[in-house]
């Protein structure tokens, strides 16, 4: 039996995120070939696959940092219409600042390392139009608290913090505006195991308490297993297989997925 499944019949809500038939070439490299992905409201989509398979490229597209050669992207949100790749730079920036949060593997991509941690979060709120200093401070503190950042270090710049703490600041920045979509690219890679567990736990809590739709890329299958409802497997810019997380891990259909899952068990 192939896994080309019917459209949902019970769940009537539309997918929050829908990426359709996206392709992207960098010179000779086909980074993405005809990739489609979706996520329903509150769902966590995990993306796994070998190095260079196009995972980060896809995530950057979901964050509108990158435009594909072809394909479309829609978000089912109030006041958001049409193919988002058609938006101009300003509209993209506003949409990302207010509705989408991202955590990069490399904190240098997401943070100003010499500004205070609370300032990094507040900057996000400023872009979205918040001007009152008291409100900025308050909201930044709330977001850092929700990310389980130690509040006595609010004014410390990320440059002086550990990797796990930097990821929390990124996370706080990402969730400060209650985004509809949270994108995470290897959020725990490079952290030592105990710190990893804490970050994971924070994410799990956010998922449960706030029902934020998430797309998470990770090489760590344990992370994906813990967080993802559904998993998409990529190789060489293509989608190999998608399915419920337990199905992908327990009964992978595709030869490549079997290799991936068994190699890491």
């Amino acid at each position: 039996m192939t896994l080309t499944l019917d459209a949902p019949r019970i769940v009537q809500t539309r997918a929050l995120l829908q990426v359709s038939n996206v392709s992207k070439t960098y010179g000779p490299v086909k980074a993405l070939q005809n990739v489609s992905a979706h996520a329903y409201p509150g769902e966590v989509l995990g993306i796994v696959g070998e190095s260079g398979s196009g995972k980060s490229t896809l995530l950057r597209m979901m964050n509108l940092e990158e435009t594909p050669d072809q394909g479309s992207y829609t978000l089912d949100l109030p006041d958001v219409q049409g193919n988002l790749f058609d938006l101009d730079r300003f509209a993209r920036r506003m949409l990302c600042a207010t509705r989408i949060g991202i955590v990069y593997q490399n904190p240098h991509l997401g943070l100003l390392m010499k500004h205070s941690s609370s300032g990094n979060v507040a900057e996000r709120l400023l872009v979205a139009g918040e001007r009152s200093f008291a409100v900025l401070r308050q909201k930044a503190t709330e977001a850092l608290d929700a990310s389980e950042f130690p509040l006595e270090r609010l004014d410390a710049p990320p440059a002086e913090l550990s990797g796990g703490m930097q990821q929390r600041v990124q996370l706080a920045k990402a969730i400060a505006l209650e985004p509809a979509l949270l994108l995470l690219d290897e959020p725990t890679t490079g952290l030592d195991v105990s710190v990893q567990a804490l970050v994971l736990d924070t994410l799990k809590r956010l998922q449960q308490d706030r029902k934020i739709t998430m797309v998470i890329v990770s090489h760590d299958l344990g992370v994906i297993r813990t967080l993802a409802d559904r998993v998409m497997v990529m190789r060489r810019g293509e989608v190999v297989e998608t399915g419920l997380a337990d199905q992908i891990f327990q009964d992978p259909q595709h030869a490549y997925t079997q290799q991936l899952v068994h190699a890491k068990l």
């Binding site: 039996m1 459209a7 019970i10 769940v11 799990k204 399915g243 337990d246 199905q247 327990q250």
Partner: protein, 239 residues
């Protein structure tokens, strides 16, 4: 009787690509299940009991056949339903009780048990109150309720697992050796809870190490030993 499940021609095997190998689990199984019915699955080790339960839950993908489930939204084939629909049914109508708890770091026993209620929209305080009652019923000591089950003994973890798995009444309940590693009191608590659920109309399919525990609940037995896949009306269950 209200039909809950109709399984027809269900076949499952595993293709192990790297070994270029096929493992057959079961072939062409058909049976039905009504509300409030309890079916005992039996068969030797490796007969495919767990595989059948996991296929019904869609952790495993069948090769052919259909699994028609009468959901509260109408009939749906679990073998082909969209992932998002399966995920929804798992939260609301189809439960799976296994031998093992999926404990998570820094999540208390009562929070783990309350989680299915929270997902079903029950407010936090009510959910926690019900969770504590369930933990008490399964004999988890009160001083453990707020502790993290990652450090619990096997039996204690299993009690938490049962409390969680059975806290929200489901339409269909799949049970894979839920009594393994339980003491007698907890086994009795489990049987009580299953009796309640059965009376309330939950249809159940289960594998039990000691079927004697659930003897009074069994309506039918399905034997998955190859060439024995026949349904016996329950007369005298070999326990």
């Amino acid at each position: 009787m209200t039909r809950v499940l109709e399984i027809s021609g269900l076949t499952k095997g595993f293709t192990l690509h790297h070994l270029n190998n096929q493992i057959a689990a079961f072939d062409d199984i058909s049976f039905t299940l009504d509300a409030g019915e309890f079916v005992l699955l039996k068969g030797a080790n490796g007969a495919g009991k767990s595989t059948l339960l996991r296929t019904l839950y869609r952790s495993y993908v069948p090769q052919s056949g259909s699994i028609t489930f009468q959901s509260s939204h109408g009939a749906i084939d679990l073998a082909r339903a969209a992932d998002v629909d399966i995920a929804h049914l798992r939260r609301t109508e189809i439960g799976f009780v296994t031998q093992f708890l999926l404990a998570r770091p820094r999540v208390s026993a009562e929070a783990i048990v309350a989680e299915p209620l929270r997902l079903a929209g029950v407010p936090q305080d009510d959910a926690l109150e019900q969770a504590r009652q369930a933990l008490a019923i399964f004999g988890v000591k009160q001083d453990l309720w707020r502790a993290y089950p990652t450090t619990f003994s096997g039996g204690e973890q299993q009690k938490v697992n049962l409390a969680r798995a059975l806290i929200v009444p489901q339409k269909l309940l799949l049970l894979d050796e839920p009594t393994a590693s339980l003491d007698a009191n907890a086994r009795a608590a489990l049987v009580n809870r299953l009796t309640e659920l059965k009376a309330a109309g939950t249809a159940m399919i289960g594998v039990f190490h000691h079927p004697g525990d659930v003897e009074k609940l069994i309506d039918r037995v399905i034997d998955l030993t190859p060439d024995m896949i026949a349904q016996e009306e329950r007369t005298d269950v070999a326990v």
